[in-house]
């Protein structure tokens, strides 16, 4: 892989963080293709903002989370205008995963960041731009809805 000198830190960031970020984006969007697209966009943004990003991995993650939120909003608007085609049948029913897709962004993100990324509430609050109490509430509500799905 030929890279310019300035690209080396970005390549390093790519090697370390691309796959985890795609997985995170997938958990936040439920759409594999979109997850890759969003993370690739995020890398372009990180590259563009490299000078101002004091902590590129953190900047990347924040960008991915915000991009996933924006993607979800755009998709919801599109679904309102044009009903989505039915999803292909799943091989294995996964009610909890399905329920995760229906959670509002904040609840979903709070759950993914806490239970997948294992981040402390303070860091999640920072990433979501809310208070720690709000994170706890979002997790509580999200879990309640997921629990309801399990008990059905």
């Amino acid at each position: 892989m030929m890279t310019a000198v300035w690209e080396e830190p970005l390549v390093e960031l790519y090697r370390e963080r691309y796959e985890p970020m795609v997985r995170l984006a997938y958990l936040l969007t439920g759409d594999r293709a979109a997850a890759e697209e969003l993370v690739q966009d995020a890398f372009v943004n990180v590259h563009r903002s490299w000078d101002r990003a004091a902590n590129p991995p953190a900047y990347l993650r924040a960008t991915v989370i915000n991009a996933c939120r924006s993607w979800g909003r755009r998709r919801n608007l599109e679904l309102v205008r044009r009903p989505a085609a039915p999803d292909p049948p799943m091989l294995v029913a996964d009610e909890m995963w399905d329920a995760l897709q229906t959670l509002p962004h904040r609840q979903r993100a709070a759950i993914v960041l806490r239970f997948y990324e294992d981040l402390p509430d303070a860091r999640i609050a920072e990433l979501l731009g809310c208070r720690e109490a709000t994170v706890r509430t979002a997790v509580h509500r999200g879990l309640a809805r997921l629990r309801k799905e399990i008990e059905r």
């Binding site: 997938y26 109490a133 997921l146």
Partner: protein
């Protein structure tokens, strides 16, 4: 197995199913190649203007109180590039190699909005300093001050800078003697490049006394004379109530921010529609139509989270929402607020005039509250706090915005019954 464990397992299982495409890096490179050559523009811009600025700085008189290097007038330095929807402004960074309080101007591109002073200050608070500027001994704020600005408006030559108290720790240095001088110098000089600004006043969440005391100053006893830095009158919110603050002064500025959020260019900026929609999504299923409620006293809002701390009877603190949203570029802006009475939407230009708006109630839902983070308080628990409340979603359409130094996007006031 607990629900938490099941969620963990479920998330890991689905995450492990993801296999990134082999050509991902090539795709990223291709996209980078398609980008305009932006990466080094701040350095290039700094180099391009440095010679002129050095001459100008040397010629500028020092401010008496703060030893701030201040241009007599810099209106000619504010260039507009409407084709690219940006304009050039100066922000002032502290020179760590000079005496305390000496600041130097550097050039920045900001969105071409009427609220250019807000844009300049947002840029200063973004903490963006190039390596070249750092190498020259210039320092600014850190990235943690990105959400520091709550409101800004200019009236009678005075710029009122309302800061988020929740970001107080991010500017802890401003509470020291030299740090306070530097803080005032960077902000004051950045604002005084605009001819309408002669002086600057500060407050935390609309409380000037809090800021003065944070800087280890003292306020005179009541009655505080008009014009005193502790004078609360200019900061007053009509009717008390809550303020939905947005870092844009008008629909155009909001659109610029929205687009930036959509592109992912502003990870420090919450997607306004996304945030509001999230709350609406939470609110919608909770329309349980309470039969009565007694509202607590609203405090001023938290601009960053969009949450509004308020106090319910008995002194218990909780949070609500006061948010702006819209569904598209020309759609109606929506304010989501908590109130028991009429909501009045206000917006003010530099002259303080009210903005004419159409207001209509579109939706009501029951109030959800956060009980100190312990969990949700739904309809069943409302009674235990001795109150009930409900949200009211109000839509309004901005007809016009007049005033080049406008400050707030909208204000949601909790007014007493007429």
């Amino acid at each position: 197995m607990t629900t938490e464990d099941e969620v963990r397992t479920m998330l890991r299982r689905h995450a492990d199913e993801v296999t990134p495409s082999a050509d991902a890096w090539e795709r990223i490179e291709a996209r980078i190649d398609d980008q305009p050559a932006l990466r080094h523009w701040p350095i290039a811009a700094a180099i391009a203007v440095s010679a002129a600025l050095v001459v100008a700085v040397l010629a500028w008189p020092e401010d008496r109180e703060t030893r701030v290097v201040t241009p007599a007038t810099t209106s000619t330095t504010v260039a507009t590039n409407r084709a690219q929807n940006t304009r050039t402004v100066l922000i002032f960074l502290t020179d760590t190699e000079a005496e305390c309080g000496v600041v130097r101007p550097v050039e920045r591109q900001v969105p071409d909005t009427k609220a250019v002073a807000i844009a300049a200050l947002q840029e200063l608070f973004s903490g963006h300093v190039t390596e070249q500027e750092r190498g020259a001994g210039l320092h600014g704020f850190g990235p943690e001050t990105a959400g520091l600005l709550r409101r800004l408006w200019v009236e009678d030559g005075i710029a009122y800078v309302d800061l988020n108290a929740s970001h107080r720790e991010a500017i802890a240095q401003a509470g020291t003697s030299c740090g306070g001088v530097v803080f005032g110098a960077m902000i004051g000089s950045t604002l005084r490049q605009f001819p309408t600004v002669k002086d600057v006043r500060y407050a935390f969440d609309g409380d000037p006394r809090a800021f003065v005391e944070f800087q280890q100053g003292y306020c005179p006893d009541d009655p505080i004379p008009p014009g005193d830095p502790c004078d609360p009158r200019p900061w007053g919110v009509r009717g008390g109530g809550i303020v939905a603050v947005w870092p844009a002064a008008d629909a155009a500025g909001m659109a610029v921010l929205q687009e930036a959020a959509d592109r992912g260019d502003r990870p420090d900026l919450l997607d306004p529609v996304g945030v509001a929609s999230g709350y609406l999504g939470e609110l919608a299923p909770r329309d349980e139509s309470p039969v009565s409620f007694t509202l607590g006293e609203f405090a001023e809002g938290d601009a960053n989270s969009g949450e509004v701390p308020y106090t319910v009877p008995g002194g218990k603190e909780s949070h609500g929402v006061a948010l702006l949203r819209r569904a598209g570029p020309e759609a109606i802006w929506t304010v989501v607020g908590l109130t028991s009475d009429a909501i009045e939407i206000l917006a003010a230009g530099s002259d303080g005039d009210l903005l004419t708006v159409d207001v209509r109630t579109t939706e009501e839902g029951s109030l959800f509250t956060s009980d100190g983070g312990a969990g949700p308080v739904g309809a069943n628990e409302v009674g235990t706090h001795g109150f009930e409340a409900r949200t009211r979603v109000v839509s309004f359409k901005l007809r016009a915005y007049d005033g080049t130094t406008a400050f707030a996007s909208a204000m949601v006031a909790n007014l007493p019954p007429s």
